[in-house]
Amino acid sequence: MASMTMIQALNSAMDVMLGLDPDVLIFGEDVGYFGGVFRVTDGLQKKHGLTRCFDTPIGEAGIVGVAIGMGAYGLRPIVEIQFADYIYPAYDQLVSEAARLRFRSAGDFTAPITVRTPYGGGIFGGQTHSQSPEALFTHVAGLTTVVPSTPYDAKGLLISAVESNDPIIFLEPKRIYNGPFDGHHDRPVTPWSRHPASEVPEGYYTVPLGKAAVVRAGEAATILVYGAMVHVALAAVEDSGIDAEVIDLRTLVPVDIEAITASVKKTGRCVIVHEATRTSGFGAELSALVQEHCFYHLEAPIERVAGWDTPYPHAFEWDYFPGPARVAAALRRVTEG
């Protein structure tokens, strides 16, 4: 065991998989010699060789198209899209090709590719370095969308992603790459080393896809959340003093419906939190699922706390970011209701 940041844990996951499986390789913009703009692939080219981890032309659709071809050959490519905001040029290859290849060929060909990309805001990145596009993938049958919230989960989930025989969209909340930011932007950030989930085995292990984690048990309400917002939700629970159960979904599709319904049936109240814009965000699906599965247990309207329906504004970062105050207010509303 070692204490790792999320960056180190992700790096370790890839290091382990490059070591175990010669069919695993990594490519993307600036990921090779340089080790990625967030240094997630740092040292991997040097250790494993030029063709195992290399730079690409700046063409996201090309990167994903090439990865799909490699997947069809039998490799398990891991590709990095430098920022989730730049994944749209690859959207067609992901939606029309990766997601449907197994289905349309009745299993004759598959695309076991992992698409890693830093996502989310809180770094003053403006509208092109802050987006949370998960809902654009959760709507697409055939894709599995994964979002880790701790170093331990990040490594275990990434190894599961690489081993999955399906295409995985692996969204890395870049705001918590180096520490569990809880949304209190005016307070000093704690480093990962003080967080228990930064204890990460150095070798191989997995965290299963499709399984949520109850990161805090509680009785008063259920918070459904993932990624960086898990830490914001925990802060809101602390700030409000409301005994909420916090469920870290980890995989968005297929979502862990059992964990969700068990909790909401127990608490009767539900707050959904994400950073993505609200309208047609993944929170809408969660809200619909909860009311479908738990209607007769609900004692108050389900609340969604989300990014506003605007592009991510540079200067108003903290007015946009759905921080602990907004989550706590929602918690208060659902528990008072």
Binding site: L25, T56, G62, V66, D108
Partner: protein
């Protein structure tokens, strides 16, 4: 200094429209045998001219001439002729089945049979093909069972694609034929990825991708050429310039300004421009590119200059947008007739053999059709396999799909 002449917008238009006499005066039909054949190791910079010539081997008399003559054995040529004729017979039959309301859709390859068949024969059997929807000849030349193709077209209970795909969207990993997409262009960069994987593994197999003249305007074309150039991928990137993209003539994809082969130049890739209706030329060019890829010298772009002799698909009516008799007037002739003429000149073929083979192939196709039609169609009320629809979305079917399957079953 300022030139204040009003600008104006140019919109390309073909030379002729319905009612006009076909005009192929713009088509440069160069002399067979005229284009030199460089060594495969030649620096692409030295052979840019090949992008503007037209590699032709068969002359008007059916003789094979010039340095690109692949000197194939007669039995290879006979096999090629047979595969082209079978492709045509199959196409005709399936087209008619659609017209009879037996299937929803079909796309023929008439006029372009040499592209798929000669290329399949110039590649190794285990080289991987990433086709568009108009290279059914690849499957036929590689001996994929006709009945399987028809099962797909009929979406019947033996359809290897389980009724999921539009007719003519085949897939056969075993035959080295990648699943056809329906989305134009996407397979082109995938072919490059497959080739890169083969190189990464130290394999010896190469990949080959196809794209239409129209679809060269898609992003994936650019990505394919960029990645192929950067990583020297062992891939052949074929542009099938059949002059049309549904109702749009090739000038709308850039063909007014230069050749499609010339695109390769900007990526530092070698380009060959080939008479796509000349079986020998297509074979020779493909073999050159394959040899080059296998020698680790990287990708080659081939423009196959041909003509889409029929409608785009069963949903299309070309008489609305081009002169009705363009196909017959195509100056580069018909690929089947030209190879038959060559074999006749070689003394291995005759009108009688042609007629006999035609009949034998028609019978073969008809027998397969009967077999395919005897299999119940999927989606009919009697079909029990409706929840197949929920398989293969994921490797393991997740809870929400299992729930939906139950809901459908009622």
């Amino acid at each position: 200094m300022k030139n204040s002449r009003a600008l104006s917008l140019h919109v390309p238009e073909p030379r002729t429209r319905p009612g006009d006499a076909p005009d192929f005066s713009g088509v440069d039909v160069s002399r067979p045998g005229a284009v030199p054949r460089p060594d495969i190791a030649t620096d692409p910079r030295e052979i840019r001219d090949l992008a503007y010539g037209l590699i032709r081997v068969l002359d008007d008399h059916g003789e094979a001439v010039g340095p690109w003559d692949p000197r194939l054995d007669a039995d290879v040529l006979l096999a090629g002729l047979k595969a082209m004729m079978l492709t045509r017979a199959y196409d005709d039959r399936m087209y008619r089945a659609q017209r009879q309301g037996k299937t929803s859709f079909f796309m023929k390859s008439r006029g372009e049979e040499a592209v798929a068949v000669a290329q399949a024969m110039a590649l190794d059997r285990d080289d991987m093909c990433f086709p568009t929807y108009r290279q059914q000849g690849l499957l036929i030349a590689r001996g994929y069972p006709l009945i399987q193709m028809m099962n797909q077209v009929y979406s019947n209970e033996r359809d290897p694609m389980k009724g999921r795909q539009l007719p003519s969207m085949y897939s056969s990993r075993e035959t080295g034929f990648f699943s056809i997409s329906g989305n134009l262009g996407t397979q082109f960069s995938q072919a490059v990825g497959w080739a890169m994987a083969s190189a990464y593994k130290g394999d010896t197999r190469i990949a080959s991708g196809w794209i239409g003249d129209g679809a060269t305007a898609e992003a994936d074309f650019h990505h394919a050429l960029t990645f192929a150039s950067v990583y020297r991928a062992p891939v052949i990137l074929n542009i099938v310039n059949n002059q049309w993209a549904i109702s749009s003539f090739q000038g709308l994809a850039g063909g007014e300004a230069t050749t499609f082969a010339a695109r390769a130049i900007g990526y530092g890739l070698p380009a060959l421009r080939v008479d796509g209706n000349d079986f020998l030329a297509v074979h020779a060019a493909t073999a050159w590119a394959a040899e080059r890829a296998r020698a680790n010298l990287g990708a080659t772009v081939i423009e196959l200059f041909t003509y889409r002799a029929e409608s785009h698909s069963t949903s299309d009516d070309p008489s609305r947008y081009r002169p009705a008799d363009e196909a017959e007037r195509w100056p580069l002739g018909d690929p089947v007739a030209r190879l038959a003429q060559h074999l006749t000149v070689l003394g291995c073929w005759s009108q009688e053999r042609q007629a006999a083979q035609q009949k034998a192939l028609d019978d073969l196709v008809r027998a397969a059709q009967r077999e395919a039609e005897a299999v119940p169609a999927l989606g009919s009320k009697s079909s029990s396999r409706v929840t197949d629809m929920f398989d293969d979305v994921y490797a393991e079917t997740p809870w929400h799909l299992r729930q939906q399957a139950r809901e459908l079953e009622g």
